[in-house]
Symmetry: C2
Subunit: 208 residues, 2 copies
């Protein structure tokens, strides 16, 4: 059985990366897809774990080779998801969790129509702005751009499958876990099992 | 906002009642709908909590008054779900969890098309038989009838939304909780919120 693709998205400052990290450390049976980026590494980030940090020249050569499932410029930096990596994991039955910006998520949705797309929103727009300010990594120009971007991103919510309103981190973590667990329980995922126990309709019958 | 209806079903001996009771004691925001039955009360059951235990005459008068959302004869006993009770809870925004046999669930599905229908199956048919035998409450005739009924019931799985294969009770409890949590996060449940933050499309706009 193929793996399932879960795509977590939302505006910067909504808290998606914190939620994703917590779920990956707690929940078995789902793996993280590491993205490429040209953004400078923050102090607490590890190359190859949080992102593959590359320079712009390398990134552009990867674009030309068609290596990216999606890529986008976000706040002046480039981000990309490796197509080969994600596809080979899914083909090996591994469930994948991606953490991408909203434009990237919508691009992936065009290719993986049966992916599960989850939007993380702040409880209010004021709260989102406060979080961006408190993050201390933004210069004032960046901050303003992220706020403008967030307005656009929040207008895209209805294109997603699920919405997590991130008021409380532990509740949000439980919600993402619940989505990942329950999506695997949908009847459509059990073709073989349902057939096996469909005693009155299956041809070769019965495992009594 | 109206409450959501979750209907838990499956053959006798699959373990649905155990799972439902555990979830109701652990998870907030969902309430149990108590069914009527003419089946004799078991020692560990409480009238008005596990079932409303009534005699056949009372039950039949309730049928005539149209009091039941669904009712069915199962293994020679009558079971019914009170229509008024469920509908008034849902209209008051209360999420309801029902524990009914497979025929009853499929009847309810005709009325509540946006209900969430969950099937609990044993890991194997042999395991189901073993559980029925161990339960000690069955005389041999009942046992044989329940096994025949289970074959029919298992053939109905594909009409449900979710399947829980009950190999391990604590895993199954977590799975039912996950279904109840994640169904409430579907985008379609957030009409008002999504509109509120849809800055570029809403008319009266903006909560900045």
């Amino acid at each position: 059985m193929k793996g399932m693709l879960f795509v977590m998205s939302g505006p910067s400052g909504a808290g998606k990366t914190t939620i994703v990290k917590a779920v990956l450390s707690e929940l078995e049976g789902v793996e993280f897809s590491v993205s490429y980026t040209t953004r400078p590494r923050r102090e607490d980030e590890v190359d190859g774990v949080d992102y593959f940090f590359v320079d712009e020249k390398t990134f552009k050569s990867l674009i030309e080779k068609g290596e990216f499932l999606e890529w986008a410029e976000v706040h002046g930096n480039l981000y990309g998801t490796s197509k080969n990596f994600v596809e080979s994991c899914l083909n090996n039955g591994i469930n994948m969790l991606l953490d991408v910006d909203v434009k990237g998520a919508l691009n992936i949705k065009k290719i993986f129509k049966d992916g599960v797309f989850i939007f993380v929103a702040p409880p209010s727009f004021k709260e989102l702005k406060d979080r961006l300010v408190k993050r201390h990594t933004e210069d004032p120009n960046n901050l303003e751009k992220r706020i403008e971007d967030a307005k656009f991103e929040l207008s895209q919510i209805s294109k997603f499958d699920y919405l997590i309103v991130n008021t409380d981190i532990s509740a949000s973590v439980k919600q993402l876990e619940s989505i990942i667990i329950s999506e695997q329980l949908k009847i459509s995922r059990f073709g073989e099992f349902v057939g096996k126990y469909n005693f009155y309709k299956s041809k070769d019958g019965v495992d009594l």
